[in-house]
Symmetry: C3
Amino acid sequence: MPAVDLFSFVTRVRERAPLVHCLTNLVVTNFTANVLLALGAAPAMVVAREEVDEFAPIASALSVNLGTLDVPQTRAIRAAVEAANGAGKPWVLDPVAVGPLAFRTEFAFDLLDFKPAVIRGNASEIISLSGGAASARGVDSTAATDAALDAAQVLALKTQAVVAVTGATDYVTDGKAVIALSNGTPLMTRVTGVGCALSATVAAFVGTASGRDEFRDATVAAIAYSTIAGELAARDAALPGSFAVAYLDRLASLDRATFDKTLVQRDVVSG
Amino acid sequence: MPAVDLFSFVTRVRERAPLVHCLTNLVVTNFTANVLLALGAAPAMVVAREEVDEFAPIASALSVNLGTLDVPQTRAIRAAVEAANGAGKPWVLDPVAVGPLAFRTEFAFDLLDFKPAVIRGNASEIISLSGGAASARGVDSTAATDAALDAAQVLALKTQAVVAVTGATDYVTDGKAVIALSNGTPLMTRVTGVGCALSATVAAFVGTASGRDEFRDATVAAIAYSTIAGELAARDAALPGSFAVAYLDRLASLDRATFDKTLVQRDVVSG
Amino acid sequence: MPAVDLFSFVTRVRERAPLVHCLTNLVVTNFTANVLLALGAAPAMVVAREEVDEFAPIASALSVNLGTLDVPQTRAIRAAVEAANGAGKPWVLDPVAVGPLAFRTEFAFDLLDFKPAVIRGNASEIISLSGGAASARGVDSTAATDAALDAAQVLALKTQAVVAVTGATDYVTDGKAVIALSNGTPLMTRVTGVGCALSATVAAFVGTASGRDEFRDATVAAIAYSTIAGELAARDAALPGSFAVAYLDRLASLDRATFDKTLVQRDVVSG
C-alpha cells in the first residue's frame, strides 16, 4: 500500500468542521462533544426518533454507540442509520459490550445489514460481532487485539465495512489491507469515554472522505491522531483527572511535524 | 437608561443560592450543574413528568433547554413551565437548534404562549423563533448576532420576554432598551455547554429578581459575568481542556473590582 | 470495636477491579465513571430494563441513585435490585432528594424491602427515609449530620442495611456500632456528583466484601478514602474547576502512608 498522508485528514477536519450526528451513551455525551470540538469538528446530539430523519442530510456523518441502549434508542438509531444511508452519509458503529448482553447483541447484528462505513470496537466486541465466542465482562476488553485480527477481517469482508480493533495495538482493516498502530498510553483506559469518543472522531474523519479506501485511511488517521494526542498528553500529566484535560488540549493543538515524528505504524498485510 | 449595578446581581446569587430547576439536554447536565455551583447557585435536575409540578414551588427559577428534546421531555417541560407560572417563578427558554428541525421548532413556538421571562439563543435560533428564515445547521449559529437584533426586538415585543442573542457581541433587549456586551473569548465556543449553561446562569440571576426591568438587568448581569469570566479564563489557559477548568475557577472567584474593570457594555437603544 | 485496616479495602479494589453496575442520574454518569476508574474499579452503566437481569451476575455490586428518577428507570432499578439479590451481589441505595418529592420518596420506601447492603444519603434524606420529617429543598441537605444520627440507627435496624450519613462529619452505622469520620473539604460540595460518586465508590468497596460487618467496614473505608482524597485535593486546588481535576488525581494515587496519616476517625458507639 502506498504511503498515505494521514495528517491531510486532520487538516480536512479542521477546515471543513464536519457536523457529526452522535447517538451515543449517557455516560460520554459531554466528553464526546468536547473531543469533537477540540478536533475542530461540530458535535450534534439529536436523539429523538422524531428528529433523526430530518437531521441526517444536514450532518456530515453519523456515530452510533450502544453503551446505554434502551428501546426508544433502538428506534432512533434504526431511523438514523436508514436516513444516513438515504442521504449518502457514512456512519460508524461502536458495539459497546456486545457479546454478553443479548438485547444489544441482537440489535448490533441487525445493524450490520445497514452498511456501516466503519465498525470500531475492542477485541471482545469485534470477536462477538464476527460470530465468534468472546469472554467479555461488559465494557472491558478481556482479549488482546491481535486475538481479534482474524475476526476483524472476517467481519470486514462480511459487512464491507472498515473494521478497527483498538487496544494496546490498534488494527484497521478493510478485509484486505491490515494496518497496525502502536501509539497511545494506558491512561486512555483510565478516563471514561476515550474509546467512545474515538468512534465519534472516526465519524468526523470519514465525514470528510468518500469511498472505501478513503474510509480506511481516514479511520487510520483518526486513530493515529487520537492515540498520538494521548501519548503526548501522558507526558503532560500522569494521573487520570489532569490527563483528561491534557488530552483535550493535545487534540486541539497537535501539529503535523509532531504527528509525523510520533507516529508508529506498520502494514501487517498490504491490500 | 440609568447605570445599573450589575455586580449586585452576582452578590444576590452568592448570598441567596437560588435553586435552579433545569430541564436541559443530555450533553450538558454535568457542566451546567458545575457552572451553577461555581456561581454559588444550587442546581436541581428533576426530570420526570411525575415530579416537576411538586418541584416548581421549591425552586427559585426554571431553565428549559431543547437540545436533546424527545416526547417524554416535552411532557415534563410543559408541566414544568405551567407549574413555574402557577408558582410565580420565572423561567428561561434556550431554543437550541430551533429552525431546521420541525419537532422542536413547533414545540418551541408552543412554549412562547407560556410566558418565558427570558429567551436566550444564538442568532439563527432567535431569528427562527421570531418567525424569520434563518440558515442554521443545528446548534451552530451561522448568522452574526447583529443580524438578529431586529428579530430579538420583535420577539421581545411579541412575547413580553427579555430576549438575549449571544455571540461575539451579545445583545439583550426587552423590546425597548437594547444593551450590547462585548466581553468573551472564542474559546467559549470550543467547550460544549457553555451557551446552555449560560441560560441556566440567566435563570439563577433572574431567580433573584422580580419584574421585567430587573429580569432585563439580571440577564445583562448574567451574560456579562459569564463572558468576563471566560475572557479572564482565556488568559489562564489557551486550549479548550484547560480552558474549561479555568472557566469554572473564574466563575467561582471573579470579584467586583475585576468585573467592573473588564466590563465592555454600551446602550444601543436606551429604553 | 477492634481497629480495622481500612486501607486493605482500597488494596482489594485496586487488585480486583470490581465491576460496578450503576443506575444513576443523568447529571453524574460521567463523573461517577471517572471516579470509579480513578479508584481502579470498573464502571458499567447498563440502563435498559431489558439488560439489567443479565448484567447483575456479571457485576460485583450495584449502585442505585434516584437523582433523575423517571418511570422507565423505576422499572430498570426494580429489576436490577431483584437480580442483584438473586445473584447474591450487594447493592447500595442513594436516595437523592427523598423527602420533598412524593414520586421518588414512595419508590425509595418500596426499595427498602429489597435489602440494600448500604444506604448513603445526606441528613435530610436519611431522616426522611427513616420515617421522620426533614426540611429539605431537594438535593441540598438542610440538616447537620448529627441531627440524623438517631434516624440512621433506626433505619439500619429496620432495614438491616449499613447506613451512612455524609456531611461535614460522616457517620456510618449498622445499628449498633457508629463510626464518625471528619475528613473532607467544603469544596466537595462545589462539584456536582461528588456525593453520588461516593455511593458508587461504596458499591465498589462492598463489592470486595462479604457479610454485614465487612460491608460496614468497607463503607467506612470508602468514605474515608474519598474524603481524604478530597481534603488533599483541596491543598492542590482552591477553586472548584481545578479541584475536580485534583480530586480524580488524588483518588488515583493516594497511598497507605498518606491515608493513615490523614485519617480522622472515632468510634461514637462501639458495636
